[in-house]
């Protein structure tokens, strides 16, 4: 089975802290994604990566950055956490296939910024 793991299920941070969310997939997928999930808004894409060291902005990249130094690992960084970044963060991966391959999701990290 494809497995996508995220470093923490729950995280509490203070305003202004730098926050690292880690995601690892074990299926040698080329594509990796970071979303945030908020009630009534569905999933919104923050960043995605289609190869090592490659990244593309999604719909809401402001206040976030990403790193992909190895194929299996995709990190989301909150440079200076703010209360409006309190959310559920979901990582996903998919194999190369011109967009018709489904995504596999991790369990999510619920981040609270105080």
């Amino acid at each position: 089975d494809v497995k996508v793991t995220q470093s923490s299920r729950y995280l509490v941070k203070r305003t202004g802290e730098k926050v690292f969310l880690e995601c690892v997939q074990d299926m040698d997928h080329e594509n990796m994604f970071w979303y945030r999930q908020d009630p009534g808004l569905g999933l919104r894409l923050i960043y995605f990566s289609y190869d090592v060291k490659m990244k593309e902005k999604g719909d809401i990249p402001e206040g976030y950055s990403v790193s992909r130094e190895k194929k299996e690992r995709f990190s989301l960084i909150l440079e200076s956490a703010s209360t409006n970044q309190t959310s559920m963060y979901l990582c996903a991966s998919s194999s190369w296939g011109d967009g018709y391959n489904e995504q596999f999701f991790g369990p999510g990290t619920r981040l609270t910024v105080l």
Binding site: V4, L41, Y50, Y100, F105, P107
Partner: protein, 115 residues
Amino acid sequence: AQSVAQPEDQVNVAEGNPLTVKCTYSVSGNPYLFWYVQYPNRGLQFLLKYITGDNLVKGSYGFEAEFNKSQTSFHLKKPSALVSDSALYFCAVRDGGDGGFKTIFGAGTRLFVKA
């Protein structure tokens, strides 16, 4: 620009009755359509997808969906609901003609199946 709409925040159905969760979409090219389910305290799981071919696609857990090009819809259906189907369902669309990677997700529909 691509978009997807799930017009119902919540759907209630009795166990054993058929269920439908609605989804409509808008893309400029050919649509790639997906349904995902999120059970409590878990990540999203893939249910089924339409890429091309037969308009009726079958997926996991007895779910199916019908692609209707004229109505730009991709409604999720199941002939007989189970209490264990209670979850949050997301429809998603990718524009097959834009050459990009972005998949747009709907806001989600919460399904309650009552025993």
